[in-house]
């Protein structure tokens, strides 16, 4: 039994790292612009399909797809940001519906271009097992867990040290004051969207490497990312990692101890629990609710 639980914790940890990568982009944009990009999951999926196109077209492993995915997804993210900026009023609510529509467009575009088949990486090397003591995992899972941690540290450094990063935090906490300080909120929001796009690109390539993709998955990814963002609370990057790992471990434990048919239930219940008990998230700054 202990072996089972240990493996479940390990699997949950790795899965959580990947979830965190998916959620980071959404959390960043939400923190900066107070906008929930419901098309975020589709951006991740787009990157995953780019990785597929590269692997099947050029025969190169998913790692080589990262540059191309970065470019394409950032362009898409720019477009989304541009359309959002055209909203005249009630940005919080209207952006929800707007990005929902963009998500529908992206999902159907992906379906049109790449059809409904299930896809995943062919690479033998990535699928090989990597065993450490009683802990089993696929190489791709471990590699992208590392990538995820590295990116998170890079993001954290960027937000605290670089000029644009600090501008993003300034705009997030007080838009008008930031304007007074000479920061262009519009430009800053664009930057945060591009960074979110970059994160989505990595997340998508990772997804293609360790999991299977289908055009319909975009929505589910967005939901997971949002759950984690809520768990983390606004404005906390380490919170995203913690929330994601919490979700991954909760799911793995549910499967091991109860039934694997209830895995999705675990995520949803956790989400609602946190909403009721700690509406600011586990690490979030206190904010007025209700």
């Amino acid at each position: 039994m202990t072996e089972l639980i240990l493996q479940a914790l390990y699997s949950g940890l790795l899965q959580g790292g990947s979830y965190a990568l998916i959620a980071l982009g959404l959390a960043l944009v939400f923190g900066t612009m107070k906008v929930i990009n419901l098309a975020h999951g589709e951006l991740v999926l787009l990157a995953a399909y780019v990785a597929y196109a590269v692997e099947s077209g050029l025969g190169l492993g998913p790692m080589f797809a990262i540059p191309i995915a970065l470019v394409l997804v950032c362009i898409a993210a720019l477009l989304v940001c541009f359309v959002i900026s055209r909203i005249q009023r009630d940005r919080e609510i209207n952006s929800l519906i707007l990005t929902y529509g963009i998500g529908v467009i992206l999902t159907n575009l992906i379906l049109l271009v790449w059809h409904a088949d299930v896809r995943s990486t062919n690479s033998t090397w990535l699928q090989e097992a990597f065993v450490v003591g009683p802990f089993y995992s696929m190489r791709s899972e471990l590699i992208f867990f590392g990538v995820s941690i590295a990116l998170m540290m890079a993001l954290w450094w960027w937000l605290s040290r670089s000029w644009y990063g600090r501008a993003v935090r300034a705009v997030a906490s007080n838009r008008d004051a930031a304007k007074l300080m000479g920061i262009d909120p519009g430009r800053t929001e664009l930057v945060s969207f591009i960074v979110a796009g970059m994160l989505a690109a990595f997340a998508g390539v990772a997804l293609y490497s360790y999991g299977v993709i289908q055009p319909a998955y975009g929505g589910a990814l967005t939901v997971k990312a949002f759950i984690i963002t809520v768990l983390a609370g606004i404005g906390s990057i380490p919170g995203v990692l913690f929330g994601a790992v919490l979700l991954g471990v909760a799911e793995a434990l549910t499967v091991t101890l109860a039934s694997s048919a209830l895995q999705e239930l675990a995520g949803m219940t956790l989400f609602l629990l946190v909403l009721f008990v700690m509406p600011n998230g586990l690490f979030g700054a206190a904010q007025r609710r209700g």
């Binding site: 929930i36 909203i87 939901v223």
Partner: protein
Amino acid sequence: MSRKPRGQLKFNSTLVALLVAGYGVVPFALGANNYIMSMVVAALVIGGVALSWALLGNLGGMISFGHSAFFGVGAYVSALATVKLGVPVFAGLALGGVGAVLASIVMLPVLRLRGPYFALAILAYAHIFRILATEWRSVTGGAGGVAGIPAFPSMLGFDFGTKMGAYLIALTLVLGFAFVYARIRASYFGLALRAMHDSEDATRMVGVNSTMLKAAMLMLSAFMAGVFGAVNAHYINFLEPDYAFNALWVTLPIVAAIFGGYRTISGPVIGALVVYLADQLVFKAVMPTGHQLVLGVLLVVMIVFSPSGLMPSLKPLLKKRTAPHART
């Protein structure tokens, strides 16, 4: 600020024309064409859900991304009641609505959440209900669903089990709910709710119990969506978890309401008819795969160019102009 009470029932020419068209012209002009009638009935069901969604948004001030929860619960309650307990179908519809209301009561703690949190919390509930429907096999029949759901019975000599019958029932329910919506909006409660929109703190100070009102709107919206879920179940005669709680019951009503204008009463329903029929009859023919893409484009275009929807822009053509909206 003084405003003309909007939504008061004016027996003007537009309303009469609509009623005549709905009950008189359409059945005779399109009645023989089963395919078109199928589309119209489906569009009316979507319109009903769109109406309930808009009600929650307008009067309750809450945007929801999980109305499929109410729709599905209503469908299941009615289906199970009629199949397993032998309840008559029309009573089943009401029970479906009640079931959805109970589901909304479970959601009450979520009311204090703001905007996007509420929207997605409702979505989480929809997922949970779907999983419950799949797992609770002894009651709901599990993933296989419920088959052989009875159709509408004959009443007053007219067999409502036909396409025409379903159309008349859906139409009547839509009009009925629209009427209720209009009355509430024009009443004291409507005023209080609109005031709450502008400033919740101020209304609380004046003694309006905003939480109670919001809860009441949630329950009403749930009831409406639940009844339409039940109508759909008895019309299709088959139900299963993925269908009952499908994301389309979220997307289509939202697109319909936004397109038609979710601040108006007729908007969501007209939006549903136009969008659904255009999607099935035009877009699908032009682009057999991925035609739902157009729905997405519609949403985006509407939000950017005309968040109040199409209806408010067309109104000047149909009626004389009303006083301009004081809110920005």
